[in-house]
């Protein structure tokens, strides 16, 4: 079973790679990285995330 799954993993890995290349070619990855950089972990970890409308603190 593990051997069969590993074989299908190669197909999925290839498909994943193709879609990721397509996405990166259409989207500016630096903007995405900037969006990830805005992730406000402090706000997410606090209970205030349920009561405040935005993540900006």
């Amino acid at each position: 079973v593990i051997a069969k799954l590993t074989r299908s993993l190669w197909v999925r890995a290839l498909l994943t790679l193709v879609v990721l290349v397509l996405l990166i070619s259409r989207i500016d990855i630096r903007d995405s990285a900037a969006a990830l950089g805005r992730l406000n972990l402090h706000w997410l970890a606090s209970s205030s995330c349920w009561s405040r409308p935005t993540g900006s603190s």
Partner: protein
């Protein structure tokens, strides 16, 4: 998610402890390459080896997965009730088709013991394949007699999916995406189903593309949508190292 499966196993009296079931679940999720369907196959195989009840193992995993898919459908219905006016016209037809397939699939699964005897030619009933198919169908049909377990698992499934949608919403808000929760109820079911399909590795790739596409009608910049989809995928991976650790420990002790 593990507890859902344990409820189903206990309803059928499968002789396995909660810790062993949890271990199989976590290791199968890891071995399955981070995709629900491949993990399901590994889970059914591991349980059948442990209990020597192959048909019961397959039935428990199939019922668990179907109820999980139905709970996603319930979430989508909530989304349509709250934000249906934001749906594109052609997506209504797609949703209706998926809903019909899911409901029909669940009914067919729970009544597999009835229709398989009609569909399978009599001469096949005693062949090796026929006997195996009938055993699995009987194990699936037996869940009709465990309504309280089915209801409990369904409620837990809806709770799990609501948590996943809430998680996506909070991650979106945390990176500054201004989309109401009701729209997440509408688009995340499609994203969750894509994450389950064996079309990606760990959820990267196609499911991310789908989430980016589904957020476009709300005017979310593609870069932000890609960042959100990456966070959704990464948050799903956080629980996987437990399965890897258990697999490593199991292999170390068997040497």
């Amino acid at each position: 998610m593990i507890w859902r499966w344990i409820i189903l196993l206990r309803a059928r009296g499968t002789a396995i402890s909660a810790s062993s079931a949890a271990s199989i679940y976590l290791v199968s999720s890891f071995v399955g390459g981070y995709t629900a369907m491949a993990g399901d196959a590994a889970r059914a195989y591991s349980l059948s080896r442990r209990t020597e009840q192959g048909s019961e193992a397959v039935a428990s995993v199939a019922v668990d997965r179907l109820l999980g898919l139905l709970s996603i459908l319930v979430i989508a219905l909530m989304g349509i009730a709250l934000a249906g006016s934001q749906m594109a016209e052609n997506s209504v037809g797609v949703f209706a088709a998926v809903a019909v397939v899911l409901v029909a699939g669940t009914v067919a699964t729970l009544f597999a013991d009835w229709w398989i005897r009609i569909a399978l030619p009599d001469s096949w009933h005693h062949s090796a394949v026929g006997v195996r198919a009938l055993r699995v169908a009987d194990a699936l049909g037996a869940y009709r007699g465990h309504r309280s377990a089915i209801v409990a698992v369904s409620i837990l499934s809806i709770g799990v999916q609501l948590l996943r949608v809430s998680q996506a919403y909070l991650l979106g808000v945390a990176i500054g995406i201004d989309v109401p929760f009701s729209y997440y109820l509408l688009f995340m079911p499609a994203g969750l189903i894509a994450l389950m399909m064996p079309i990606s590795l760990a959820g990267f790739g196609a499911p991310q593309g789908l989430i980016v596409w589904l957020l476009q009608p709300r005017g979310v910049p593609q870069a932000d949508a890609l960042a959100l989809s990456t966070l959704i995928v990464l948050s799903g991976i956080v629980g996987q190292p437990a399965g890897a650790a258990l697999l490593f420990l199991r292999q170390s002790t068997s040497r």
